[in-house]
Each structure stands twice: as structure tokens, then as C-alpha cells.
């Protein structure tokens, strides 16, 4: 029961639990949170170092680093957007990798 309750509690909040409203800048990561969360089986992004995130996104955007669909998405974001995305994602809690 304790385990069950703990799982329920975790699942209730495991989602990024992000308030986008407190900082208009954060609205930019709304689409990221469609797939990326602590419960996703995707490479973690929340709380990773900004420099690492920025380098990875730039490499995916250019195609230097293979991806399934991230290249298609990142081509919709300017270099400045990607810098902002990296900064916001890095500031998010959730990284215990």
C-alpha cells in the first residue's frame, strides 16, 4: 500500500509540473514538455547543463547528430531560440542522472 501510494503520488506530480505563467520566457518550452518528462524513455533534458543542451540541439538541427524527429522540430527555432531553450531547460529541476 505504501508502495502503491508512493507510486500514485509520484505519478501525480511526475510530470514536469511547470508553471509557464510565472515567467513568459518559459512558454517556449511548452512543446518540449509534450514528450520530455522524468517519466519519458527519452534522453533527459531537464536540468542538464545549458552548454550541453545547446550543443546537442545545434548538432541535431544541423544533422551532425542523428535524430528521429528533433532535426525537423529544431529547424523551426532560431539560434537565439535554441540558446533560450537550453537556458530554460537547464534551469528546470528534475535531473538526477
Amino acid at each position: 500500500m505504501k508502495r502503491l501510494r508512493s507510486m500514485m503520488w509520484v505519478s501525480a506530480v511526475a510530470f514536469a509540473n511547470i508553471t509557464y505563467a510565472d515567467d513568459g520566457d518559459k512558454l517556449l518550452i511548452v512543446p518540449c514538455t509534450g514528450c520530455h518528462s522524468p517519466v519519458a524513455t527519452l534522453p533527459p533534458v531537464f536540468g542538464r547543463p545549458a552548454a550541453e543542451l545547446q550543443a546537442t540541439m545545434q548538432a541535431m538541427k544541423s544533422g551532425a547528430q542523428p535524430s528521429t524527429l528533433m532535426m525537423r522540430l529544431l529547424r523551426g527555432y532560431t539560434d537565439e531560440d535554441i540558446t533560450r531553450l537550453a537556458r530554460i531547460l537547464a534551469s528546470m529541476p528534475g535531473a538526477a542522472q
Binding site: V10, A14, F15, N17, A21, L69, L73, Y77
Partner: protein, 421 residues
């Protein structure tokens, strides 16, 4: 695993920056009513409550259990239990949302009240309509609600999904499965073709002489080249697709005699899956939020209705232009729109941002393809960002198709945990 998740969660919680500190007095007294507990409405209710805990948020949803459409094609064509698609509202209620299991039957946008089937009337400061779709049972001669009990649409998941699954399993050897697909716009543009794929997956293993015939009321469809390539490689000639130019426009469905009449031909079927044309969910029309198209026009910057004051529309019901009617889009729109609703309550101007959509489709349970799009709002519409988006490559290793299937599965876990967990 649990410990790791708990740790992640605790870290996540410490990062919350609730808005209580900067809430205005007006907002503290404000009430937002959200109609519809699908991906859009439930995301909206929770996002509002998370960002503004003092706000009164009421979600109106008649069903005790929501049955999700994404992945429901696996219930029909593979062995996924319907229960994997079903979610209650305990998580939504635990997040502080007042959940009313009732049906909204009227909106007075001047008095700002919603009337419920139980005859109670509730007042709002802001109203969010997320009613999903209503099927048009007058569009195809012979296909009304009664006929859908014999020839299921299965385009609103639940009983209909199980009915279609059971008909497929009971289909005679070498039988014909016919699917009718409407013209755009409709819920989940690639959905019918994913369904055809998974029906073929079932037949390939259990009834290999059978055939799937798609009669499409248009001449091109989402991810067409990828689907057709996948069908050929996985199922040979099991699936045949016909568009309007091939004479596929349907003039009548005769469910008693199991015949579909097209402009030039008649097709005898064993199982028919009729997906009729659609429009915004009924309450949107009753409220006066729909235009002549049957869908709801919005101000792209905010998702505010252009027809009703203090009202927002999101998800399948909204005219979001290039953004497809998908659960992913509804979820993203809700998070975006929640910010605009809160800003309106605080008399702040809208805040613009880029949105995106990702939709996976299964060609088989281990073979998925995707379409992605990135969108920006201008004065009149949500437009795709040039140079971005598109589909999976036509040439790809099976490992890539498998990886996309795994990512699709991950997406469903993430979104349903977030919205209903």
C-alpha cells in the same frame, strides 16, 4: 526505479514557482470553468490550478472515465486492452480542480453562466471550451447513430472501439474490411491510415486472404508516401486505397445489406468502419462559438473565441489552422492558453510563443512513422514555420522505425501521466 522517480519528483517540486505571491485580489476571487475533460480540457484545468492555486477551477465532464483515442487502434488491431486507454479524474481532482460529472447544455456569455443538465447554473469569469468533436450523423446517407451500432465509427474511443475490434476478429476468412474516411478537417489526420495499418497487421496474422479497402473522400492524405511504402513492405497488397479521383466518394451506406454505394460502384463488405465528417463538440455550437464551418474561430494569439466574450476554445474544436487536431496539439495549446487566461485575469497583454506538434503513427506495433510541425501565430492564423517540420524519411533502417514506435509509447505515458495521473 521508484526511488529514482521519487527523487526526480522531489527535485521537480522544489523548482515550483507558484504565482500566489503576485496574484491579484481579482484573480483570487476568479472562477474559470472548463468544459470537456479530454487532453485539452484536463491539461488546461490542471495548468491553471498549478500556476494559480488560489484560482477556482471547475472542470465539467459527463464521463467518470475518459477513454483516450491515441493508441486505441492497437486495441482494434493488436492485443492492447481497452483499460490501457482509460483514465479517471481522481488525479485531476487531487490537483485541486473541482470536477463536476455533468453535461453542459447551455452557455450565457452575457451573464457568464453555464447551465448543466442537472439544471444547476454556474457562474464564471472565464470559460474554456474543450468539447472535442461531434460526429455528423446526417452527412452520409444511411449512416446515422443507429447505423453506427452495426458499422462502427470508433472515432470516439470506448464501446465503439471494442465493437470494431470484435467485428474484425469475427470476420469470415477472406472477407472485406471497408473503411470510409472523411475529407479534412477531422480529428487526427493520420489516424484512419494507422487504423488501416493495424487492421492489416491483425489480418496478416489471422486472416491473410482478407482485404482492407479504404474509400477516402479526398485525394491525398497525411504521411501518404510513408504509409503506402509501409503497407507494401509489411502487408503486400492487403490494403487498397481509393481517393475521390478513383471514384471513392460514397453516396450511401446500407448497413442492413452490408453494401456501400459509391458514385460508380457498389462494394459488398463484411466489416465496415465508417468515419463520418465531424464538427466541434455540441456545446460549442449551442454556446454560439462555432461559425458556418461547424468549428470555432479563435484569436490565434490567445485562443480566445472571436464570437464569445471571456471564452477560449482549444483542441479539436478550435480552428487552429495549420495545427492538426491531435492530442499533442491540444495539450500544448492548453498550456499556452492557460497562460493567456491568467494574463487576461491580471489585465496583462497576451504573450506570444512558438508551438509545435508531433504525431506518431504505427504501421505495425514495432514500426512507427512521425510527422512534426512548428507553428507561429500571426494576426489571423497559426502558420507553419518555413523550413521546419515534415515526416520521417522514406528510407530508414527498421531500428529507426522501432525507435519511433518506442518514442510513441513514451509520449502516451508522459501525456496521460501529466493529464490524468
Amino acid at each position: 526505479m521508484i526511488n529514482r522517480r521519487r527523487l526526480l519528483t522531489q527535485l521537480s517540486l522544489t523548482g515550483l514557482v507558484p504565482l500566489a505571491g503576485c496574484a491579484t485580489l481579482g484573480e483570487q476571487r476568479a472562477r474559470v470553468v472548463v468544459i470537456g475533460g479530454g487532453f485539452g480540457g484536463a491539461t488546461m484545468a490542471r495548468s491553471l490550478k498549478l500556476a494559480a492555486p488560489q484560482l477556482r477551477v471547475t472542470l465539467i465532464e459527463p464521463r467518470q472515465v475518459y477513454t483516450a483515442c491515441p493508441f486505441s487502434n492497437l486495441v482494434i488491431g493488436a492485443n492492447r486492452p481497452l483499460s490501457a486507454q482509460q483514465f479517471g479524474f481522481a488525479g485531476v481532482a487531487a490537483a485541486g480542480v473541482e470536477v463536476k460529472h455533468d453535461t453542459a447544455v447551455g452557455v450565457d456569455a452575457v451573464a457568464r453562466t453555464v447551465t448543466l443538465a442537472s439544471a444547476t447554473r454556474i457562474a464564471y469569469d472565464k470559460l474554456v471550451l474543450a468539447p472535442g468533436i461531434e460526429l455528423d450523423f446526417t452527412a452520409i446517407p444511411g449512416y446515422d447513430r443507429e447505423a453506427s451500432r452495426l458499422a462502427p465509427h470508433a472515432w470516439q474511443a470506448g464501446e465503439q472501439t471494442v465493437l470494431l475490434r470484435d467485428q474484425l476478429r469475427a470476420m469470415p476468412a477472406g472477407g472485406t474490411f471497408v473503411m470510409l474516411v472523411p475529407d479534412s478537417p477531422y480529428r487526427c489526420p493520420p489516424g484512419p491510415y494507422e487504423r488501416a495499418s493495424l487492421v492489416a497487421h491483425y489480418l496478416h496474422h489471422h486472416n491473410p486472404a482478407a482485404k482492407v479497402l479504404i474509400l477516402d473522400n479526398k485525394d491525398a492524405f497525411s504521411k501518404q508516401a510513408l504509409f503506402q511504402q509501409g503497407w507494401q513492405s509489411q502487408y503486400g497488397d492487403l490494403i487498397e486505397w481509393q481517393g475521390v479521383a478513383d471514384g471513392a466518394a460514397v453516396s450511401e451506406v446500407d448497413v442492413r445489406n452490408k453494401v456501400i454505394h459509391t458514385d460508380f460502384d457498389s462494394v459488398q463488405y463484411d466489416v465496415a468502419n465508417v468515419i463520418p465528417p465531424q464538427r466541434a463538440g455540441r456545446i460549442a455550437r449551442m454556446a454560439g462559438a462555432t461559425d458556418a464551418s461547424g468549428w470555432c474561430p479563435i484569436d490565434p494569439a490567445t485562443f480566445a473565441s472571436t464570437l464569445l466574450n471571456d471564452t477560449y476554445v482549444l483542441g479539436d474544436a478550435a480552428i487552429a489552422n495549420a495545427m492538426p487536431k491531435s492530442a499533442f496539439a491540444a495539450n500544448a495549446q492548453a498550456k499556452y492558453c492557460a497562460v493567456q487566461v491568467l494574463r487576461a485575469l491580471r489585465d496583462l497583454p497576451p504573450l506570444s510563443s512558438t508551438l509545435a506538434n508531433t504525431c506518431y503513427s504505427l504501421v505495425s506495433p514495432q514500426y512507427a512513422i512521425s510527422i512534426a510541425g512548428v507553428y507561429q501565430a500571426d494576426e489571423t492564423s497559426w502558420r507553419p514555420v518555413p523550413g521546419a517540420g515534415g515526416t520521417s524519411p522514406l528510407t530508414a533502417d527498421p531500428a529507426v522505425r522501432l525507435q519511433e514506435a518506442n518514442y510513441a509509447d513514451s509520449w502516451f505515458s508522459v501525456v496521460t501521466n501529466e493529464v490524468y495521473g
